[in-house]
């Protein structure tokens, strides 16, 4: 068990650094698409240092402290209960037989934590900011769970390890080819949880100061930024395990997660933002229909 904990620390450390550099690279790509030179790719590290170096900070109570901690726990938890690299003891983490259900709840954990923290911050608009976030998150989950159900039925398992194992032995064994409808539904739904356009209005990154992180600064900000490095990466590792055959080496994991994240970047630079009610309507439209079709397909044609 002690070994496992050490391995978990190592894999979290490696992955979080990969996440920071990946985020820097993505910002560089965004800049180049906009014909800008862009911010240095290592800027995330300097921002973290700067946030740590603030001399004063504001306290609002216990829940205000716990908000970013819950958020970070959501990201780390999502990462730690997944087999990151198939067959590797170092990157097996704490995955167990029913991990798929646990992962679903971890996706919500961070947002709920922020809801509690932001409401304690006393910001008059935090309630509406958090409500918008939770509403969109719920709409994202519906088609995503449909895709997940289809896969669980297809492989007769809710263990991520078994799902990855079933996809080994050639590219044609990937869910992408055995159950393309579920993959399409899942990939469309997952766009909503990468916090990139067209679905990032809930975060209110620049122009609307009512996003949940409005009151957070200094050390709280460090937690939130670290989570922004690890959460999308954990999510893309989940996608990789479910749809694209998992990974057998760290290099393969890096390549596949990079491509999954590039999918959201590609959509992000191409399309303008949705308002919250528009994005909810969109998630409950085409992705949900495809998700239902995926379940029907698995139930009547595959088994």
């Amino acid at each position: 068990m002690g070994e496992k904990i050490l391995y978990a620390f190592i894999s979290v450390f490696l992955t979080i650094n990969y996440g920071f550099l990946l985020n820097g690279l993505i910002r560089k790509i965004y800049a180049r698409v906009g014909r800008r030179h862009g911010i240095p790719f290592y800027q995330m590290y300097i921002d973290l240092l700067k946030s740590l170096a603030l001399r004063t900070n504001i306290r609002h109570g216990v829940m205000f402290y716990l908000g970013p901690v819950f958020r970070f726990t959501g990201g780390i938890g999502l990462f730690l209960f997944m087999p990151v690299i198939f067959g590797s003891e170092l990157f097996a983490n704490f995955s167990f037989s029913g991990d798929l259900l646990l992962l679903l709840s971890f996706q919500f954990f961070g947002t709920l934590g922020m809801a509690l923290g932001a409401s304690e911050s006393g910001h008059p608009n935090s309630a509406i900011g958090v409500t918008r976030g939770l509403a969109q998150m719920t709409a994202v989950e519906v088609p995503f769970v449909m895709a997940l159900m289809a896969i669980a039925v297809q492989y007769q398992s809710i263990s991520l390890h078994e799902i990855v194992a079933a996809q080994q032995g050639g590219i044609t064994n990937w869910t992408l080819f055995t159950n393309p409808l579920a993959v399409v539904a899942g990939m469309l739904a997952v766009l909503g949880s990468f916090m990139r356009p067209p679905f990032d209005v809930v975060l209110a990154p620049q122009e609307i100061p009512i996003g949940p992180p409005t009151e957070y600064h200094s050390n709280y900000m460090v937690y939130l930024q670290s989570n922004r490095a690890i959460y999308p990466l954990a999510k893309s590792i989940l996608i990789m395990n479910l749809f694209f055959g998992g990974a057998t080496s760290f290099g393969e994991m890096m390549l596949k997660t990079f491509l999954v994240i590039m999918w959201s970047v590609f959509v992000g630079v191409s399309f303008p933002r949705f308002r919250v009610e528009q994005s909810i309507r969109w998630f409950l439209g085409i992705p949900l229909i495809i998700g239902v079709l995926a379940i029907v397909y698995v139930q009547f044609f595959l088994n």
């Binding site: 800049a31 906009g34 014909r35 800008r36 030179h37 862009g38 911010i39 240095p40 800027q43 300097i46 921002d47 240092l49 700067k50 170096a53 603030l54 001399r55 004063t56 900070n57 504001i58 209110a204 990154p205 620049q206 122009e207 609307i208 100061p209 996003g211 409005t214 009151e215 957070y216 600064h217 200094s218 900000m221």
Partner: protein
């Protein structure tokens, strides 16, 4: 919020119980800002380097110079190269750019915003009107010298200064931060009473707490 909202008042709760509210004490923190003296060691130098390389600007256009800030985000000037980013909230921002003239009405908001920023924080004053009033030298409702009201780190002169001048100002601010000379927040804490007297002399309807945390 109006001045009446700050007065002591008696309210009846939904249960019918009467209780007294003193908004200044109950809703706001009444502590004054405190100086946080930097410890001069190698860690502080390292932190100063990080502070100078990651400047977060509060996206709050106060005067006509706000239009000069926008081109900085575009491909032509691209301030992101220098580690500059825009933040929507004073809590996370380090640099407040006073973009041009300040009417006394805006000054009130600027003070609230400045006080919500966390130490260390920097102020850049843009345009001649922040130095001596500029073309508004005889106006009845704009302030003439900004450093009576807020500690200013860098002035960028001109009417209006072009975005290049703004970038040059940021580069100057970076050298100030690196050498440990940009201590405006501590100056504000040290001379708090002087600043407050000046502020209250021009803001006649002072309907906010003395220090906005």
């Amino acid at each position: 919020m109006s001045l009446e909202d700050l007065y002591r008042k008696t309210t009846i709760s939904p249960d019918g119980e009467e209780f007294e509210i003193n908004p200044i004490e109950d809703y706001f923190c009444t502590d004054k800002p405190e100086e946080v003296k930097p410890v001069q060691n190698i860690l502080e130098k390292f932190y100063n380097w990080a502070r100078s390389e990651s400047i977060w600007i509060l996206g709050f256009g106060t005067g006509c110079g706000a239009i000069e800030m926008r081109p900085l985000m575009t491909p032509r000037f691209d301030a992101y190269r220098y580690g500059i980013q825009w933040r929507p909230t004073p809590r996370q921002a380090n640099l407040l750019i006073i973009s041009g003239y300040l009417s006394t009405k805006t000054l009130k908001r600027v003070i609230r915003v400045y006080e919500q920023m966390q130490n260390p924080k920097y102020v850049m004053a843009l345009g001649s009107c922040t130095i001596n009033g500029g073309m508004y030298f005889d106006s009845y409702n704009t302030i003439k010298r900004l450093d009576y009201y807020l500690p200013v780190d860098v002035y960028v002169a001109g009417c209006m200064p072009r975005p290049e001048a703004l970038l040059a100002g940021v580069v100057k601010l970076k050298t100030l931060i690196k050498t440990g000379m940009a201590e405006g927040a501590n100056d504000y804490a040290n001379r708090f009473d002087w600043y407050k007297t000046n502020q209250k002399a021009v803001i006649l309807n002072w309907d906010m707490p003395d220090y906005n945390w």
